[in-house]
Symmetry: C2
Subunit: 197 residues, 2 copies
Amino acid sequence: MARTQGSHSDITGPRIRAAAERLFARHGYAAVSMRQIASEVGVQAGALYNYTPDKQSLLSDLMQGHMDDLLAAWRAADRPGPALERLERFTRFHIAFHLERPDAVFIAYMELRNLEPENFRRIEALRRDYEDGLEAILRQGRDEGDVSVPDTKIATLAVIAMLTGVNTWYRAGGRLSATEVADIYWNMVRGAVTLPR
Amino acid sequence: MARTQGSHSDITGPRIRAAAERLFARHGYAAVSMRQIASEVGVQAGALYNYTPDKQSLLSDLMQGHMDDLLAAWRAADRPGPALERLERFTRFHIAFHLERPDAVFIAYMELRNLEPENFRRIEALRRDYEDGLEAILRQGRDEGDVSVPDTKIATLAVIAMLTGVNTWYRAGGRLSATEVADIYWNMVRGAVTLPR
DNA sequence: GTCTATAGATCGATAGAC
DNA sequence: GTCTATCGATCTATAGAC
């Protein structure tokens, strides 16, 4: 039976975060009101403040959670081995992970400027950690003679930009499966960073 | 002599557009108020409405102007020739053009969702025109046997994402000149779309 | 063409009843 | 834990004086 009032602390919290994620991704943090979020969840605006101290924390917690998930998942997926094998694993991991949570990815890239300074610094540090993971692979590849780029930092940023771009056009149920997309991108990544013929 | 009041129609208009571009890029369209824009220009908020019918037109006109400039500049830079030469020209053009106007580029990528439907469709069509220009080059390259990608549309989007990513990290006066950056990216673009060794 | 002043709406956040 | 009600600030856009 659907209660219209009462205590729902265990389910309202997650529903608020889900609604905020969906609305922030769709319309942007600054354009979304607390009343809109509350309306999506089916409560009044005042009730949100039982779960978050303010709107900023809603955004900051979403981004923090996303970056934590990303780093933990990559650390679980990475394994020692030849650099080109690790690079292929990174490519397929990055595409799969990002295609599974388009809203969180969109927020992570678009709403950095709406973070208060302290939150911004914390999130940015996590992003750098992730980039450093890829750069370490490219450095290893250069040591092994398979990777040929004049600057591993720039190559890191170029590869991540290319891969994350998938999210701007990929739609589930489209012409290509996520695996086919990953195959195509792995070929391009490999060509971009390996020795010219 | 600095007049604090009076008629400035010929200079106030451009200054409003410049202030809006700067502020929209810095804080986001939804987070910037007409009062902030007016304050930057040195007039009161009401005076803005002598130059724009509303805030939305300010955004829409900025993005339209940027896309018009981009398409006109590329049409002027493109020339017939082997696909790989045209592709190198595209790469260097794209990086140079985008690094010269980081605020307009940032707005063009971040504020699409704040366009009203009609404006959105018009701007999106211009973006597709630009993408089609690159895809035509990749098709030509495939016909000539120099380009090897399974899908020219995906390769188009991948290349543009990689190149536009330069704007997220490049700062004038940094370690590398814009030309050195273009050299590095051209090598990666070439490797990504040409035949594997 | 810019000003002052304001209409009318909406915002984030809080107070207190239940 | 959610509600209703509201405070005080801020927003876009307009009206009318100069």
